[in-house]
């Protein structure tokens, strides 16, 4: 039945069309990377400490203003889905990606990453994750925390990873099986307060947030202690696509690093509760990746 059969010619034609389509798409992507415009992608869940309004409105406006000063066109896109953002990053729709370092390390092709910058919150070590408990209640190491009430922040996979790593290290189980999981809070200081007021027994936050919270009430230091910590875990960072013109990248990074030198830039930093921005390279994701690998390793050896 000749009518139901697909001829080789037709198959060849289809292959030619598909090939053309693939090449044309690649050509379009290549064109996007060559456009000297700043296209930022924000993974909003990774910025759980900050309000969506700040990200959507303030960041967009101030970024556009800064772009005008630099003489470049800017565009800010807010993503709820990491995979979608990753796809746009790969095809050049966005050329600067902002997300949780753990997500970037695990879900983004790290070979596509180039230098970028990170926002440094004031106070404490910005890249240190700490485990907090109350003092004088027999919760002085992780081993003593079995069945204790754990409070964590929403959308912070790094904290989850670190607690799981410690739980695996001490109890060879994930924390869901060793600690009482309490409802998550949106912000770090909220879980610190719950810890202070005895609603939870243990939490994991970046030390900078802990520091900021204790500045508001030094009494917290009298009641709360750090029993574990890990350094080198980036809170959040933005990386350029490697295909972006290095000179363009450099000019943008330099502009961001100078944000703290003028009022509008300081206002931008204020949105992220930071005092300055620092350059960051993809290599700084190493410890996060290592933590993830170590955790995976512990999980597999039981």
């Amino acid at each position: 039945m000749n009518t139901n059969r697909i001829s080789l010619k037709q198959i060849a034609e289809c292959l030619v069309i598909i090939t053309c389509l693939i090449f044309s798409t690649c050509a379009v992507a290549e064109d996007l990377f060559h456009q000297q415009t700043l296209r930022i992608g924000f993974h909003r869940p990774s910025f759980h400490e900050y309000s969506r309004e700040d990200l959507v409105i303030s960041v967009k406006i101030i970024t556009e203003e800064m772009g005008k000063d630099l003489g470049i066109e800017t565009n800010v896109a807010i993503y709820e889905d990491m995979k979608l953002m990753n796809a746009d990053f790969e095809n050049g729709t966005i050329n600067l990606i902002f997300a949780s370092p753990l997500l970037i390390a695990n879900e983004v092709d790290n070979t596509l990453l180039a230098d970028g910058f990170k926002m440094i919150p004031s106070g404490g070590n910005a890249d240190r994750l700490v485990i907090l408990t109350r003092k004088n209640e027999g919760m002085d190491n992780f081993k003593s925390l079995r069945n204790k009430k754990l409070g964590l922040v929403e959308n912070d996979p790094t904290s989850d990873l670190y607690v799981n790593f410690l739980s695996q290290s001490n109890f060879k189980k994930d924390f869901q099986d060793t600690l009482k999981k309490m409802p998550r809070e949106k912000k770090s200081h909220q879980v610190i307060l719950k810890l202070f007021f005895g609603q939870i027994d243990v939490t994991c936050v970046y030390e900078s947030f802990f520091q900021t919270t204790t500045e508001l009430n030094p009494q917290i230091l009298e009641r709360v202690q750090i029993i574990e910590h890990i350094d080198g875990i980036l809170q959040s960072a933005g990386f350029f696509h490697k295909n972006v013109d290095p000179a363009f990248r450099e000019s943008v990074i330099n502009a961001v690093l100078k944000l703290n030198t003028y009022p509008r830039g300081q206002q931008f930093l204020e949105i992220f509760k930071t005092e300055e921005a620092l350059p960051v390279s993809p290599s700084e994701l190493t410890i996060t990746k290592k933590l993830f690998n170590d955790y995976q390793h512990l999980k597999t050896i039981k």
């Binding site: 912000k187 200081h189 909220q190 610190i192 307060l193 719950k194 202070f196 007021f197 609603q199 500045e215 508001l216 009430n217 030094p218 009494q219």
Partner: protein, 521 residues
């Protein structure tokens, strides 16, 4: 006379209007202050209550579940969004209190007394200093669920806004008062001018009219009392002008009449002057005649007196002659007798001669003022009448200081004394008085010398006492009196000696009192 123009009505109206408006403005302005303050407090109260209710409602679940973390976070957020709130204090009945302010938060065990006192079942507030805040509107809101008290929410509001409202209000009041003052000055000036200017104009015109200018007229035309005043003023000036014209005519007429009368009077005066001169000359003539008559009368009386004086020496001289004749016939006329007779005769003749000298001296014209002894004059004058007084048994008593001296016309004074003595003598003789007596009493007082000639002849009849000084008035028999003695005596005393002569009766008789100025001292 120039009349100074005044502006007192303008000033008074301006001041009264200005003071009144200013007083009303100030009254309302300062009445508004407490009302506004209360209103601001009420606004603060309402605002505080709303914020408190909002916080409690938002935190109710957290409060019930004791989610203090949420409470802290929520209130930190509230503070962040309300810079007018200094602090929030969550004060549960049991447990630590949470103090949250703009910079930090912390737990406190106990409240200070001022704040703790505000915790009861009612909403309370108090403006007071707390911590580092100088003044805080401290609002306390009781937290209750289903009637069960959980604790209290304290909120410390900044009073900056309140103070700003108050300051703004004061500034507005000052602004209003300032504007009012300017308006008062401006409107008050216009109002005062509107009231006073026509009055001032009319006053100025009236001043000109008062100065004699009747050509001025008021040009004010208004439909009110001022307009009526203006019309009335013009009518008044018209009337004045007419009256002035009438007066001028009348004056002219009067002047003519006065001129005519003056001429008539001048003529009359001229006649009168001539008449007076004639009268004076006639009177002088008459007086001279009178004086002459008086002198003649006096001379007549003196001649009588001489006769009396001479009667006795003449008789004695006759007796001497008879004795000489008798001695001679008796051939007994010897030298001694002859010498004695001749001596006696010589003495008698001498006496008679001296009598003539006395009379001659009395009538000797002496018309110059000189000092003389009153006693001596009275005595010498009395001596002239001595014989007549003796013949009629009239006793003469002279009471006078022998050293009493005055200045005047001596002869005329003697004539007055002689006249008064003569009158007294004649009255005593006529009335046949018992123990007829004349007393001459001369007394010196401080400034005067008073000489009283008093008799006891029964006095001057009342009906004639007012006429005794009239010339030619006499009560004596015809041929005995001329009626010019007292008249001349009064003339001499009052005109020539600047004294007075008066008469009165006492119980015994007439008293003639001469009062002269004591000009000797």
């Amino acid at each position: 006379m120039a009349i100074k123009q005044k502006n007192s009505i303008f000033i008074r109206v301006f001041l009264i209007f200005g003071s009144l408006v200013l007083a009303i403005t100030l009254f309302f302005a300062f009445m508004v202050v407490p009302m506004q303050k209360n209103a601001f407090k009420q606004i603060m109260f309402t605002q505080a209550e709303t914020v408190s209710r909002s916080i409690v409602q938002a935190s109710s679940d957290a409060i019930i579940s004791k989610d203090f973390g949420f409470i802290v976070e929520h209130n930190v957020e509230v503070l962040k969004n309300n810079t007018s709130i200094h602090y929030i204090l969550i004060s549960p009945k049991i447990g630590d209190k949470i103090w949250i302010n703009q910079e930090n938060w912390h737990l406190i065990e106990n409240l200070n007394t001022d704040i703790a006192q505000l915790e009861n079942n009612n909403i309370n507030y108090k403006i007071m200093p707390i911590d580092n805040y100088e003044q805080v509107y401290h609002f306390v809101y009781p937290i209750q669920f289903s009637g069960i008290s959980w604790g209290w929410l304290h909120i410390g509001f900044s009073t900056i806004q309140y103070d700003k409202y108050i300051n703004d209000m004061y500034f507005q009041i000052i602004y209003i008062i300032g504007i009012s003052l300017i308006l008062i000055l401006f409107v008050g000036y216009l109002f005062a001018r509107w009231i006073s200017q026509p009055v001032s104009i009319i006053s100025h015109l009236a001043t000109q009219v008062a100065g004699g200018d009747l050509t001025v007229r008021s040009t004010i035309v208004r439909g009110d009392e001022i307009g009526v005043l203006s019309d009335s003023f013009n009518q008044m000036v018209d009337s004045l002008m007419q009256s002035k014209k009438h007066l001028e005519n009348y004056n002219q007429e009067l002047e003519n009449k006065v001129l005519k009368r003056t001429q008539e009077l001048a003529d009359l005066n001229k006649d009168l002057d001539n008449k007076i001169k004639d009268e004076v000359a006639q009177r002088q003539k008459q007086e001279a005649l009178l004086i002459h008559q008086s002198r003649l009368a006096a001379m007549g009386e003196m001649i009588g007196a001489i006769a009396h004086q001479w009667r006795q020496p003449l008789n004695a001289l006759g007796l001497v002659q008879q004795n000489l004749q008798f001695k001679y016939q008796m051939d007994k006329l010897d030298d001694d007798f002859m010498n004695q007779s001749m001596d006696k005769s010589a003495r008698l003749i001498q006496k008679m001669s001296s009598t003539i000298d006395d009379f001659r001296n009395f009538f000797k014209p002496n018309k110059h003022i000189e000092s003389f002894n009153i006693h001596n004059i009275i005595q010498s004058t009395a001596d002239l009448l001595e014989a007549q007084l003796k013949n009629n048994n009239i006793k003469l008593q002279i009471i006078c200081n022998e050293n009493l001296i005055i200045k005047g016309f001596q002869g005329e004074f003697s004539q007055v004394i002689l006249n008064l003595l003569n009158n007294a003598k004649d009255a005593l003789i006529e009335n046949n008085s018992r123990q007829p007596t004349i007393i001459i009493d001369a007394v010196k007082n401080n400034d005067t010398v008073t000489i009283t000639i008093k008799d006891n002849a029964g006095g001057i009849p009342d009906g004639i006492i007012d006429k005794i000084y009239d010339p030619y008035f006499t009560t004596k028999e015809e041929g005995k009196g001329t009626g010019i003695g007292l008249y001349m005596s009064k003339i001499i005393v009052e005109n020539n000696m600047s004294g007075t002569l008066r008469a009165f009766n006492d119980a015994e008789g007439a008293n003639f009192v001469i009062e002269l100025i004591n000009n000797q001292d």
